[in-house]
């Protein structure tokens, strides 16, 4: 590498380091301030519909209630195991008797679905985008280069890199000595 580029490379590396520390500190600070229970890795959430549920619904008997709104994170798998002798619907999942319905919740949004065994016949499903380590690393990946470019350009304008002084060649010194 040419010697005149070295100060720029050094400056760029320094800028990247400062950006990493700066963006990392801001990201982590906000993450800790705003952290919620749904900031977790996706998992499988299983709900079992026991045998006799449809008969109980028909007879107007009380059932183990589901919360009015269920909160998930993107990537969660909602699994409904239907042990009943009748088909059931829980939100977006329809399950024939004796089978299992499985849905990967991929889009963050609030949904309202019908439900064959909730008291109100409706079920709210709230799918949230979780902030995980991967999200935070992605934020770093996006934030660091942008901040680094800004700081690098700002740095060049505010603190220009001086070009290395050229050493005079011996012949030139001799020339200058004769004239003097």
């Amino acid at each position: 590498m040419k010697a005149e580029y070295r100060p720029y490379l050094k400056r760029l590396m320094l800028t990247l380091l400062i950006s990493l520390l700066l963006v990392g500190a801001v990201n982590e600070g906000f993450y800790r301030l705003q952290r919620e229970k749904t900031d977790r890795a996706p998992k499988t959430v299983q709900i079992v519909i026991p045998k006799g549920t449809a008969a109980k619904v028909a007879a107007g008997e009380s059932l183990p209630t589901l919360p009015e709104a269920m909160v998930f994170v993107v990537g969660d798998v909602l699994e409904v195991v239907n042990e009943d002798i009748a088909q059931h619907q829980l939100g977006p999942i329809w399950v024939p008797a004796g089978s299992t319905g499985r849905l990967v919740l991929e889009i963050a949004d609030k949904y309202s679905y019908s439900c064959s065994f909730s008291p109100s016949n409706y079920l709210g499903v709230d799918v949230r985008q979780a902030t995980t380590l991967a999200t935070r690393l992605t934020a770093l990946g996006v934030g660091v280069p942008a901040v680094a470019v800004f700081l690098f350009i700002y740095g060049l304008l505010a603190f220009p890199i001086k070009p290395p002084e050229k050493r005079a060649s011996p012949e030139r010194v001799v020339e200058e000595g004769r004239h003097g």
């Binding site: 399950v95 024939p96 004796g98 319905g101 019908s114």
Partner: protein, 198 residues
């Protein structure tokens, strides 16, 4: 610094590899194990008998609706049309079926006029209320007439999910209303691929 960047890149590559190397994940609501779909015989828009069990070897997408429907059914049929177009040659292996929830108005003739405006290859199935009720029941389809006070007469509240039946005649997937079209297309492609690998 370079080490941190390298670790980040390696981490991203590993995550990407893990995602790509995994098996296909269906995007609709998967029924597992697949359950044999309830069979039925109804009449199509050409007056011909349509029996579900005779469609084995095809993927069948079933939707319950009616021709006077102002919103859900036109949207779903438009989605069917786009899915069929985007499937290209594979669409020949798929049956697109509308089963009426309004047999009093959705006659064979009415369906014959209505469906070609979307695609003449779509099937519109009707029958008597006595023939249809067991089908609605076995597919868990809610339907109820509602007075609208408009010129079209009553409306019918109905379930809007789509059922995907695989080439072996099993319930495999369901989709809620307005499910992402691309997701349905990818799932249907996967169902066809699975069958070709058997």
């Amino acid at each position: 610094m370079i080490g941190v960047g390298g670790l980040l890149v390696v981490g991203l590559l590993l995550a990407g590899w893990q995602i790509l190397s995994g098996g296909y994940t269906f995007q609709g609501s998967l029924i597992d194990p697949p359950a044999p779909a309830a069979d039925f015989t109804l009449t199509d828009q050409n007056g011909q008998a349509f029996q579900l069990s005779s469609q084995q070897g095809k993927v069948v997408l079933i939707f319950f609706g009616y021709t006077n429907c102002p919103d859900v059914c036109p949207i779903t049929l438009t989605d069917f049309k786009r899915i069929k177009t985007e499937l290209g040659d594979l669409a020949a292996e798929v049956r697109f079926v509308l089963i009426t929830v309004d047999p009093e108005r959705d006659t064979v003739e009415r369906l014959g006029l209505y469906l070609p405006s979307y695609d003449p290859a779509f099937y519109g199935l009707t029958g008597t209320r006595e023939q249809l009720e067991p089908v609605w029941k076995s597919y868990g389809v809610y339907q109820a007439q509602q007075e609208s006070g408009s010129a079209v007469g009553y409306l019918v509240d109905h379930a809007a999910r789509i059922y995907a039946i695989d080439q072996q005649g099993n319930w495999r997937l369901t989709y809620p209303f307005e499910m992402d079209r691309e997701a349905v297309i990818e799932d249907v492609r996967q169902l066809l691929k699975e069958s070709s690998m058997r």
